[in-house]
């Protein structure tokens, strides 16, 4: 019995040592974490890498996707025949609804002044499919671009869109700069 008691107390002693070591290691780690104060990250799309494949609409764990099309009006051409809004017009300049590219009719077209039209995105309807972005990039200035709307994003530790993106356009960005604006446009 005495032998067993000795065994037990030795085990207890070792456990105590392990606990103390663990606690010290944890406090050191916590200390370095708090002193470095590294910012949390969020996921965002680099619009210059985006190839508008359409996966943002389907890969997001949320339905509808947290990815929305944003419109940088500052680089918009205000085209009458906006190719973000309209599809291929073989016979000319139909601007009727059946030619709309957006599957959810989320792009609003408003007359500004001759010959300029303003496009705005109804983000409640936008599903982030990038069809309009593709059209605008191919023909126009690329003023339409996809971004992860940070107020909608679930902030998954592993973004499902980042895994699905074929070009690695979804990246971690610091939470204080959660958007990637297109400051420059393609020719």
């Amino acid at each position: 019995m005495a032998d067993k008691g000795g065994l037990k107390s030795r085990r207890e002693f070792l456990a105590e040592g392990a606990r103390t070591a663990g606690l010290i290691a944890a406090s050191m780690a916590a200390g370095s974490l708090v002193t470095r104060r590294a910012e949390a990250t969020v996921w965002q799309i680099d619009p210059l890498k985006c190839i508008q494949c359409g996966r943002c609409a389907t890969a997001c764990v949320l339905t509808p996707s947290a990815v929305k099309c944003l419109h940088a009006h500052v680089s918009c051409g205000y085209c009458r025949l906006c190719f973000g809004l309209f599809r291929d017009q073989r016979s000319g300049n139909e601007t009727t609804a059946e030619n709309n590219r957006c599957p959810t009719d989320a792009i609003r077209r408003a007359f500004v002044e001759d010959p300029y039209f303003e496009m705005t995105i109804d983000e409640d309807l936008c599903i982030g499919c990038a069809r309009c972005v593709k059209g605008c990039n191919a023909f126009g200035n690329g003023s339409l671009f996809l971004q992860i709307r940070q107020d909608l994003c679930a902030r998954c530790n592993q973004c499902a869109i980042a895994l699905a993106c074929p070009v690695g356009a979804v990246e971690r960005v610091p939470v204080s700069q959660p958007y990637r604006m297109k400051t420059e446009v393609r020719r």
């Binding site: 104060r37 944003l70 709307r149 074929p166």
Partner: protein
Amino acid sequence: MRRYSEAIWILVGMFPVVPAWAQEQQRQPPPEFRSGYALPPLNAPMPRAEVFTVVDLLVLLAVLSLTAWFLLGARSRAGVRVLAVFSLLYFGFYRLGCVCSIGAVQNVALALVEPGYVLPWSVGLFFLLPLVFALFFGRVFCAAACPLGALQDLVLIRSRRLPAFLEQGLSLIPYLYLGAGLLMAATGTSFLFCQYDPFVGFFRFGGPATVMAFGAALLLLSTVVGRPFCRFLCPYGVLLRACSGVARWRVRIAPSACVQCHLCADACPFGAIRPVTPNADLEPRPVGRRRLAVLILLLPLLVIGFSALGHLASPALARQNRVIALAERVWLEEQGQLWQTTEASEGFWNSGRPPAELYREALAVRRRFGIGATLLGGWFGLVVGGRLILLAMRRRRTEYEADPGACLSCARCYAACPVRGEVSISLPHRVTGETGVTWSR
């Protein structure tokens, strides 16, 4: 041939074949509107304020402390259940399952290896807090703070004990899963634990179909098998188990009070209470000793063998990485061995990045895979060999013992113990001695 050599890559780097194309160009200014039209602002709302991260941390701290108190002081299974429901609602359905200590393991691994990634302090604390609590109070995180555990615990109707070989075999998977997840995280490939989290889809009401189906099957299984994810998959559980092994305050069965009725072992859905070893099963000593000696000699061989296997498997594993897969594709296209581009390679060619730069990046990742996969193999060998040695070791138990590593602190055994006297377990004051199962040293 899907092989490429470093020397050729360096040569390629000296003579860029494909011209880079800068996509950016001076912006065309917007039209000068005569009607006084003003450009609308860009709608880009900010994410949830950082102060809420502190709230998350405080909630975690509170849940962990309260759970410890419910178990240690109040001895209340009901209290633990209420906390578990709260965690399920808060961390699960409200926070959508993300911020999570299980996933944080991967952030820690990535931050340790990748200099470009700095561990956010909040994630680091989510990783550390449950471990520190486990050092002192056992796995209180599993008891009530983890929404995944809470979900499985709440649907458990009647637990059935698994056959011993199944239990032993399955309980190795978390170690292997942990190793694989650390490798994938440290190489920046993907966060496996998050990608294949079976229950997070329930919190978000949607997810990949295969993972959702897996989660549903696991949840169904949880009705008859106690917490299958926690016991047979959870990689964070490996760390918690290690910490909980030295916990200061935890479930112990007082030998003086125990009547060896086996009711607590029956009540434990997780097989954490080890009963007295029956004499009949014991083999003659020399046989056991010989086996042990052989297994101990086998351990280094297993470690070396699995390391070699891991090293051999590293190129195949590395292909899971986006950078490596892209570099191989681009290389073959550049060599004219493949004519068609994929979306990924086309995106790369359009980016104007020189291929040599991609190859350099890929080589760095592959070097990391080479080391990581070897270590992973060694870890596999160590886990398997170590488990075999543990199985061969003969330990006689003359008393009922609660395995601190396996105990998930659910408090079910308190109610099952018949040695209660007049003291009700629901009373919120500390009880020692009167019951067989107690939370003291």
